[in-house]
C-alpha cells in the first residue's frame, strides 16, 4: 500500500507513463486491404463489394471444430470483399443472447436454432427485417416449409442455414449383418426386431438425455417423432402452437408408445444399465455402444455421426449408420422431424445484409458443404458436394418432396416450455413419474 502514502509522486509517474503509452498505441492503425478483390475467384462476390474493411459480428452456439469449419467456409468471401467476420460461439448461447440483446450489446447476426426464440426477438422489435436482396435470395433458394419457420406475423426475419434430420435410428450395419438382422421398415418390424434382440441377451436400445443445462432434449425428440407418426402432422402443428392442450389424449398415447421402448427395462439401456441411467448418460456418449456391440439401436439426429470415435466407418456397409425411423400409420405419410438454425440480424448496415445474403447463397452452402459434416435445406446445394453417406441420406430426405417435414416442436414452443418444463418433464418421466402427471405439469406451465 505504499502507493497510498505518496500519492503525488505516483500521480506524476503514472501520468507520464500513461501519455507515453497512449501515444504508441495510437500509432498502430488497422488498414487491412482486400488484395484479392479483383481476381477471378472473386467474381462470384461481385455483388457484395463496397464494404471493404467493415466488420460484422456473428454469435451462435456452434463452437470447437464445427466453428473452425464455419470460419473456413466463408474465408473466400471475407478475402474477396474485405468484410471482416468476427465469429463467437458459446455453449451458453440461448441464455446469453437475450442478455446481450437486452443489454444493448447485440451481435450483428445470430444463428438462432429455435424459431420460438426468433419470434420472441421479433415480437420485442429487436430484429431487423430482411433487406430486399436477402429476401429475394432466401425465397429463391429455400423451401417454403422452412421459410415459414423464420417468419413472424408475415414478416420474414430468419433465413434458414444449416439443417439436420432427426428421424434417424443409428445401428451398426456390421453387427446387423453378422447376426442376420434386417433393417426394419415399419414400426411392427422395429418392435419385433427389438424383442428378438432382447431375447438374444443384448439390450436392443440405448439412449441418453444428459446434456448440461439442456438435459432432456433428446427425449423430447423421441416424443415428437412418435407423435408425428401416430397423430400426423396436423395434430402435431396444433400441439406445438397450443391449439390443443399439451396433454391431449393423442399426445398421451404417443408418449406412452415412446415409453414402450424408453421405459422398458428389457430394451434399455444397452451399455449403461437400466432405464434410469438414461437420465444421467450424456447424449454424446449414449450411442457409442452401438459400435462396440453392447446395444443395437440408438435414435438420434444426423449430427450424431460426429460423435463416433476416430476410425469408425460411418456408411451403409460400415461400423455405424442410420436408418429412417419407420412410420407407424401408413395413412399419415412419411413424416420427417428435423431442425436447423436461422440467420437473424440485429443490424441493417449494408455489410451485415451482404453477409446475410451471402449465407443464403449457392456459393456459401456449397462452400460449407464441401468441408463436410453439414446439411442444409437450401435447394441450391449440389449433392455432389456432400461427401459423407449420412449427410447424403439427410439431403435426400430433406429434398424428397413426398416426405412431410416438421420442425423440432420443442424449438417452436415458448422457451418456458420448449427449453424448460418439457425438458425437465421428460427427465422426470424417464425417472419414473407417470405420463399423465408429467404432461399435466407441462400443460399448466404453458405461458398464458
Amino acid at each position: 500500500m505504499a502507493v497510498f502514502t505518496r500519492p503525488r509522486q505516483a500521480f506524476v509517474i503514472a501520468g507520464a507513463l500513461g501519455l507515453a503509452l497512449s501515444a504508441t498505441a495510437c500509432g498502430t492503425g488497422d488498414d487491412k486491404k482486400s488484395d484479392k478483390a479483383g481476381s477471378a475467384e472473386c467474381a462470384a462476390y461481385e455483388k457484395y463489394q463496397g464494404n471493404d474493411g467493415k466488420k460484422v459480428s456473428i454469435y451462435a452456439s456452434i463452437r470447437d471444430a464445427e466453428a473452425d469449419l464455419l470460419e473456413r467456409s466463408w474465408s473466400q468471401f471475407t478475402d474477396c470483399t474485405g468484410i471482416e467476420i468476427a465469429y463467437e460461439g458459446s455453449g451458453e448461447f440461448e441464455a446469453q443472447l437475450p442478455v446481450r440483446v437486452d443489454g444493448g450489446n447485440a451481435p450483428d447476426i445470430a444463428f438462432v436454432p429455435q424459431p420460438g426464440l426468433v419470434k420472441r426477438f421479433a415480437d420485442a422489435g429487436k430484429l431487423k427485417s430482411l433487406g430486399a436482396d436477402t429476401k429475394a435470395m432466401a425465397e429463391q433458394n429455400m423451401p417454403a416449409d422452412w421459410l415459414k419457420y423464420g417468419t413472424v406475423n408475415g414478416t420474414l426475419y430468419g433465413v434458414p442455414l444449416g439443417a439436420n434430420v432427426k428421424s434417424f435410428v443409428w445401428y451398426s450395419p456390421k453387427t446387423f449383418k453378422e447376426k442376420g438382422w434386417e433393417v426394419p421398415t415399419s414400426w411392427d418390424q422395429l418392435i419385433a426386431l427389438s424383442d428378438k434382440i432382447a431375447a438374444s441377451g443384448m439390450k436392443p436400445w440405448c439412449a441418453g438425455v444428459e446434456s448440461g443445462d439442456a438435459t432432456g432434449w433428446p427425449a423430447t425428440d423421441w416424443i415428437e417423432d412418435v407423435l408425428l407418426r401416430t397423430a400426423g402432422a396436423e395434430v402435431y402443428d396444433q400441439w406445438t402452437t397450443h391449439a390443443i392442450p399439451f396433454n391431449d389424449p393423442r399426445v398421451v398415447e404417443a408418449v406412452d408408445r415412446a415409453g414402450t421402448i424408453l421405459k422398458n427395462e428389457k430394451y434399455v439401456n444397452g451399455g449403461f444399465g437400466g432405464v434410469k441411467s438414461i437420465t444421467t448418460t450424456a447424449f454424446q456418449e449414449a450411442g457409442l455402444p452401438v459400435v462396440n456391440g453392447k446395444c443395437a439401436m440408438h435414435r438420434q439426429a444426423s449430427f450424431y455421426a460426429n460423435q463416433f470415435p476416430e476410425g469408425t466407418k460411418v456408411a451403409e456397409d460400415g461400423d455405424a449408420f442410420a436408418f429412417y425411423f419407420p412410420a407407424i400409420d401408413a395413412a399419415k405419410g412419411k413424416p420427417v422431424l428435423g431442425a436447423g438454425e436461422f440467420v437473424v440480424a440485429y443490424a441493417d448496415r449494408p455489410e451485415v445484409q451482404a453477409v446475410q445474403t451471402y449465407l443464403a447463397s449457392a456459393e456459401y452452402v456449397n462452400s460449407r458443404a464441401k468441408l463436410g459434416n453439414w446439411v442444409t435445406a437450401n435447394n441450391k446445394l449440389d449433392i455432389a458436394n456432400v461427401a459423407s453417406p449420412i449427410d447424403k441420406l439427410s439431403v435426400q430426405i430433406l429434398q424428397d418432396k413426398s416426405g412431410t417435414f416438421r420442425f423440432d416442436g420443442s424449438d417452436l414452443m415458448p422457451a418456458a416450455v420448449g427449453a424448460g418444463t418439457f425438458w425437465k418433464g421428460m427427465v422426470d418421466w424417464i425417472n419414473g413419474k407417470d405420463t399423465a402427471t408429467v404432461l399435466q405439469g407441462i400443460e399448466s406451465s404453458w405461458p398464458k
Binding site: M1, E88, S90, G91, E92, R100, G103, G104, S211, A282
Partner: protein, 322 residues
Amino acid sequence: MTTATPTVAAGTQKTGGTPSTAAGRVRKRLNSRTATLVSIVIAVVWTIPTFGLFVSSLRPEDEIKTTGWWTAFTNPQFTLENYQQVLFGQSSSSGQLAGYFINSLAITIPSVLFPIAFACLAAYALAWINFRGRDWLYIAIFALQIVPLQMALVPLLRFFSTGVSVGGITLMPAWDLVDEQKFAQVWFAHTCFALPFAVFLLHNFISQLPGDLMEAARVDGATHPKIFRTIVLPLITPALAAIGIFQFLWVWNDLLVALIFAGGSDETAPLTVRLAEMAGTRGNEWQRLTAGAFVSIVVPLIVFLSLQRFFVRGLLAGSVKG
C-alpha cells in the same frame, strides 16, 4: 463492551502460545493422541475428492472412463497427455488454456485492487466521519450484498453499451470497447459487485480501531485524509490482504460476469469460460475436464497457500472481539 461487532484487540494480539485456552481445556478431556488422529483423518477425508481429481487428471482417457481413480495405485498408468492437450493444443477443439490464463490474470489484478481501495475509503468514512444518516447508509450497503448479480447483468451491460442519457441529454456516451479493451468492463463490473461485502468486512474492522488514536490525531490538527493515510492504512494492512485474497479467489473463479462483459472470444475470455465450454461441448470427456479443472485450481491454490497467514490474521482482526 457488549458489542456484537469486532474489536481490534485480536488483530494485534499474538495468537497461540498461551498454554491454557478454553479450547485447550475442552480438548484435554479427549486423549490428545485421539484428537490428533481424528483431526488428521478428517483433513484427509476432506482432501480426497480433490486428490481424486488430481490423480484422474494424470490418467489416460480410457482408464478414466472405465475404472476408478483409486485403481491407479495398483495398476499405475500415468500420462501428461491431458495437460499437454489442455494447455497447448492449438486446434481450437482442444484447450489452448495458456492464452486464457493470461486473460484471467489481466481480469483479476485490477478487479482486486479497485474494490479494495474504494471499500477502504468508504469504510473509513462510515466508521469515523460524522455525518447524518451514516448508519443507514452502512446498513443499505450491507443489504446490497443480496442483490443477485445475475439481475444486474442486463442493466450494467446497457450502461456500457448505450451510455447514460437523461431526457435526451447524454451524460455518458457508450463505451464502445473492442477486443482486449473489454477488460475494463469486467473490472468495472467486478468492482461494483465486490463493494458491499468488502465494505461490510472493512467497516467491521476499521470501526473497532481505538478511538483515542483518532481523537489524538484530530487534536493535533490532522485532517481525515491524513488520519486515513498515516494511521488507519498501516493498521488495516492484514485486513486488506485478507479481503484481497478473498476477492482474488472470487474473481478468478467467476464465470458469469466474464461471460457477459468479456465475451467468449479468446482475446478476452478467462480460464473459467473456456473450462465451462469444454465441459459443455465435450460432454463427459473427463480427461480434459479433470486436467483443465486442475489447471484453474492451481493459481488460487498457490496464492492462497502463500498468503494464508494474512488471510487468517486479517479476517480474524476484522471479526473477533479480543
